[in-house]
Structures are given as C-alpha cells and as structure tokens.
Amino acid sequence: MEDNILEIINLSRSYGKFKLSDVNIVLPRGYIMGFVGANGAGKTTTIKLIMNMIRRDSGEINVFGKDNIKYEMQIKDKIGYVSEQPVFYDDLTVDWTAHFAKKFYSNWDDTIFTGLLKRFNIDKTKKINQLSKGMKMKTALALALSHRPELLILDEPTSGLDPIVRDELLEILMEFIQDEKRGVFFSSHITSDIEKIADYVTLIDNGEIVLSEEKEDILNRWKLVRGDHRELKGLKEDLIGLRLSKTYFEALIKDIDAFEKKHDTSSLVVDTANLDDILLHLARREN
C-alpha cells in the first residue's frame, strides 16, 4: 500500500503568544516518523491537534486518508496514543483500566495486553499510582497496542526514562512496524532514539516545520563545516548557526553537494552532523 497514513496540510493554530503556523507533514504507511524539536517548539500541540484534543484554526489533518474531525470515532478506534505523561485513574488498577478501555474499542485483544504486561513485568493488580514512571509509560504502551491500532502516536515517550526502557520501546516499535500497513509518529527531544529507527524526520522549531524528509537524506546532506576564520569570507550566506571560537568557526550547511559545487572546501573540515547538531545550530540561528 502506497497511501499515506498521516497527512497534515497547512495546519495552523495560535495560542496566546505561541503560534503553530503552516505545518505540513506526510507519513506514508509502513514507516516511522520522528518528530524532533526543542521543548515548547510545538510538538505536543501538533499531536493534540491530530488527536482532536484541541481545535485547529485552519488547515487539514487526514488520518488513514480521512478527516480527523469528521471521522474522529472511526479513526480513534485505530490509533494507539501515548501521551507525554500517561495519566489514567490513579486510584484504579492496571487491570481495571484495561477492562474499561476495552469497552470502547472494536478490536481489543486481551492476549496482546496480557502478553505485553508479562513482557514488561507489570503486575496488573497494581494501582496506577503505585507504578514508576517507566512502568506507567509501558502500561500506556500496552494499552495503546492492545486494540490493534494501525497508527501509533507517541508524545515524548522516552523523556525521563532510563536507556533500558528506551531500548525496549524501540524494540516494540520495530516489531509494530513489521506489518507494513502500520505507521508510527513519535515526538522526542532525545534525538538518538529517532536517529536509530526513524525512516522520516520532521524538525519543528518555534511553531514552524524546518524540514520533513527521509532521515538518511537529511543526514547525508546536512553537514557540519569547520575551518579557520580566514576561510569565512564568501561562505557566510550558506552557513547556518555560525559559531565562532577563538581559533576556528563551526556552522551547519544545508546541502553538501551544492556547497561543494559553489565553494572550495579543500581547506575546510566537513563532518557528519547528527540531529542534535542540526537542532543546536538552527536554534542558534535565531539569536
């Protein structure tokens, strides 16, 4: 299937001083998209708009090719969602919570839920408020997967969790995506997680999408350049987030091929840039 599991077109929403403007994102079926950005860049707002938890001012959101407001019930039946800080009813047990959720989904599968709890080592007789942060996230994940969703939406699932739990999550996501009809959209500011498994990366900064492309293309094209101050002349307009230290400069470039065609790079160091580098230099651009 070549269709898109998630499509966001010219989405806007303003919120007091904060403004999410003209967001465009496309995620084809069968892939994982990482949604990267600093805190407050608009990740959670975008995700809540997809979930129709807040209203959009303008634009369009299609999930499974259908408008997310018009077909909200139908769509939500096939979405698994894990919020930033998973909250259920504190005083109730894991088991009760699952039994409650089960009533609302058409495809709930108990064996998936019990299987995941076992795998995560979660005691289902425990109350939600007795679970640690990692356990809560895993419970939320188990709940999100048990109704056989096609699209998994995770909002900062790994923040504040130890590397072991994070690795478990990545494992689960890779398993989930074995079925090529499915898709994952997850936001994180821990870019190493996204760098590992994401097929697509969307970078948001200050309410605007900076780039949204295949991860490999991004990592192959965006590079760091370093060099002596003398070399700076004539380069400046192509450098992003220039940082001057005492002995050298460092900056981001958007497209190494175009850059090499235009400039002589023999006395510069061109280095691979990871998503963190890209984020950092883009943030510097504004200051």
Partner: protein, 125 residues
C-alpha cells in the same frame, strides 16, 4: 546472517549493508537462491530504519545481485560468474584508490608506495 555495520564508518548505513551482503556473495557465503531476511526483519534485527534496508536491497537489485519477488522475499540472484569476477576487480580497484588517496594526502612518495605494494605482494601473495 551477520552484517557488519558501524557508526564510525563514514559510509552511509545503506551502503554498509549492501556492501556487506555483496562481500558475502563474493566470498561465496551466500549462494544463488539463498533467501535474505525481509526488509522489515533486517531493519528490526539491526535496529535501523526500514528505509535504510530498503535502499540497501534496492542497490543490490540494481546490481542484479539479488531479486525480490513480491510477497515472497528477496533471494540471491543467479549472477554471472564473469560479471561477478569483474565486480570483484572493481571492488579491489576501489580499495586501492582509497589507499592511494590516503598516501597522496599524507605526502607519501609514489616510489615508496610502489615499494610497499610489491613488498606485500611478495610476502603475501
């Protein structure tokens, strides 16, 4: 099937994978008709993105080293032995080019390079 990939390798991941598989074919570890893991399985196994493995397989298909049958998976193709040999030579050429480039960068003289090459040939081959 172990495919060596490394973060410190400057080559893109998909290239590391396609070359890794190609090497196994060249060495005869993988024979025509042998099944490869599915694109998604391999991605899960290596904990890398699906697009990366997809691209790696695509490269191999372009080189006619593997064929993918929809719904069945990917297999090592019935490659031409002669073509394989020339591919092998191409690979060697590629590697020597790397060495020469390194020598050039570090200012090693052509004469010294030749000496080293013949010395190694004498000892090892």
């Amino acid at each position: 099937m172990f495919i060596p990939i490394s973060n410190s390798d400057p080559r893109p991941l998909y290239e590391q994978i396609s070359e890794g598989i190609k090497n196994k074919i060249l060495k005869g570890e993988l024979l025509p008709g042998d099944a490869l893991p599915s694109i998604r399985q391999l991605a899960q196994d290596l904990k890398i993105s699906v697009i990366t493995t997809k691209r790696a397989y695509f490269e191999l298909e372009q080189q006619k080293l593997i064929i993918t049958r929809p719904g069945k998976g990917s297999f090592i193709a019935n490659y031409d032995v002669n073509e394989m040999a020339s591919l092998n030579l191409l690979e060697i050429e590629h590697q020597i080019k790397g060495v020469v480039a390194y020598a050039k960068r570090t200012g090693v003289l052509r004469k010294d390079l030749e000496d080293i090459f013949y010395k190694i040939l004498k000892e090892e081959y």
